[in-house]
């Protein structure tokens, strides 16, 4: 199948250019592609143009932002055929004493913590059934976790994490950005963001920070990384702001 890397027009297909740039070709393919490039100025120009394309935010800063889902973790689409069963499921959950993170009730569940007076962070692992992840609880690579926050006052909220390597990563909002406005509430409110745990095992700290004035992710991420680096407590990352954190332990696959 000689020349299979060429398209119908006799030039490299985009896929082969991408594979070349990613060092994803077999030796034979590379030989063929490079032979074509040596003779084809058009494809050389395309290769150069493709090489110039960079990721939207340069190199990926951290792993977790990739594993982010902008949607709330658990509410199901309204068109699911078993939607009619939802009231029964909720009733059964209440009957058996389970109150999930996405239910209407905001009763404190076992393991819920309130640190200080201003902010409460809950970390929930997607189900079924969803479960509150308490301090020191184990999570696993691939686990999808969401967040609920209860704030005592209006302000600007940001949730971020730091992994075993000491690198910070944004959770909410999903990219390094300004903190998002967040209203005070008597109950913990679901934050429309979720992350999926990556493969790096060890301690995973999730921190929610709320300030009265707008602030940027980089302000708190650098403070967080510095605190972890120096093994200092994470309290008061930003002056005049409230925060709460949950420390998780990520271990290998669940058996």
């Amino acid at each position: 199948m000689e020349g299979e890397w060429l398209g119908r027009d006799g030039h490299l297909v985009d896929l082969m250019i991408d594979r070349l740039l990613c060092d994803d070709l077999t030796p034979d393919e590379r030989t063929g592609v490079e032979a074509h490039l040596a003779d084809c100025s058009g494809c050389r120009a395309r290769l150069a143009s493709a090489r110039d394309v960079t990721m939207p935010w340069g190199e990926l800063p951290v792993l977790e932002p990739l594993h982010r889902d902008a949607r709330p973790p658990l509410p199901e689409p309204a068109n699911r055929p078993w939607r009619w069963m939802l009231p029964l499921v909720v009733a059964a959950a209440v009957l058996f004493g389970f109150v999930g993170p996405w239910s209407i009730s905001s009763n404190d569940a076992p393991g819920m913590r309130l640190k200080g007076t201003g902010l409460l962070l809950e970390v929930w692992r997607s189900g079924p059934p969803p479960s509150l992840v308490g301090p020191g609880d184990e999570v696993h690579p691939g686990d999808r976790v969401g967040f609920r926050v209860r704030a005592g006052a209006d302000g600007y909220l940001l949730i971020l994490g730091v992994d075993e390597s000491g690198r910070a990563y944004p959770c909410h909002p999903s990219r390094p950005a300004e903190a998002v406005p967040h209203q005070a509430s008597g109950a913990a409110m679901t934050v429309k963001a979720a992350i999926v745990m990556d493969a790096l095992l060890g301690t995973e700290q999730i921190v929610a920070v709320q300030c009265a004035a707008p602030f940027h992710y980089t302000e708190v991420s650098s403070a967080l990384e510095a605190a972890v680096e120096s093994d200092q407590p994470l309290s008061s990352l930003l002056d005049g702001c409230v925060q709460d954190e949950v420390v998780l332990t990520k271990v290998g696959k669940r058996h």
């Binding site: 199948m1 000689e2 299979e4 890397w5 060429l6 398209g7 119908r8 027009d9 030039h11 490299l12 297909v13 985009d14 896929l15 250019i17 991408d18 594979r19 740039l21 990613c22 994803d24 070709l25 077999t26 034979d28 393919e29 063929g32 120009a45 395309r46 290769l47 143009s49 493709a50 394309v53 960079t54 990721m55 939207p56 935010w57 190199e59 990926l60 792993l63 977790e64 990739l66 594993h67 982010r68 889902d69 902008a70 691939g142 999903s174 999926v196 990556d198 493969a199």
Partner: protein, 184 residues
């Protein structure tokens, strides 16, 4: 020299294929894939979307990858597999948006992409209207053929089907294009 094969759609395994456990590669580090292959996926997305929207789509594609990466068996190169995931996602996303626009034409052709042969009337029909109503497999084959300019053999190998199947599908595509042309 064949390209390595990618069987079927990401997330499924073809009937009669080797069980996943027998030749499945070691667990994929999607984060590492993102760092290494993200630019290629991003370029692929730029074939369908402008830069601003492509950033969002890139995240969506890798979320999709997280969900279906278990089906990657190492039968094809990671870039080829990701290319399929991205192509499928972009097509479905465009269709979901119910945009009555011509496929791929809104943002023009990226510099590195080959030019679409617009002298082919079937290609014009496919790009302007047909792609929206086709089933997923036919739409993918149409994109690989009319947009990417792949040969029958390349499409067969990327999708993990026979050349004969590709030939039959393309014949069906042309038939549909002719019908569509007659009714417009």
């Amino acid at each position: 020299m064949p390209m390595m094969q990618c069987y079927g759609r990401p997330g499924t395994r073809p009937s009669g294929s080797v069980p996943m456990s027998s030749n499945r590669p070691a667990a994929v580090d999607v984060g590492a894939w993102y760092r290494r292959y993200g630019p290629a996926v991003y370029r692929r997305i730029l074939r369908f979307y402008g830069r601003q929207e492509a950033e969002e789509v890139l995240q969506e594609v890798f979320l999709r990858v997280l969900r279906v990466v278990h089906s990657y068996r190492g039968d094809c190169s990671p870039v080829t597999w990701l290319y399929q995931v991205a192509t499928r996602h972009c097509l479905n996303r465009l269709r979901d948006a119910r945009r009555r626009r011509e496929l791929l034409l809104e943002f023009g052709r990226p510099d590195w992409s080959r030019e679409i042969d617009r002298t082919d009337p079937d290609a014009r029909i496919f790009l302007s209207q047909l792609w929206r109503d086709l089933d997923e497999e036919l739409a993918m084959i149409g994109v690989y053929y009319f947009v990417d300019g792949m040969s029958h053999g390349q499409i067969a190998e990327v999708l993990g089907v026979s050349r004969r199947t590709v030939g039959n599908r393309l014949a069906r595509l042309r038939e549909l294009a002719e019908q569509a042309a007659e009714t417009t």
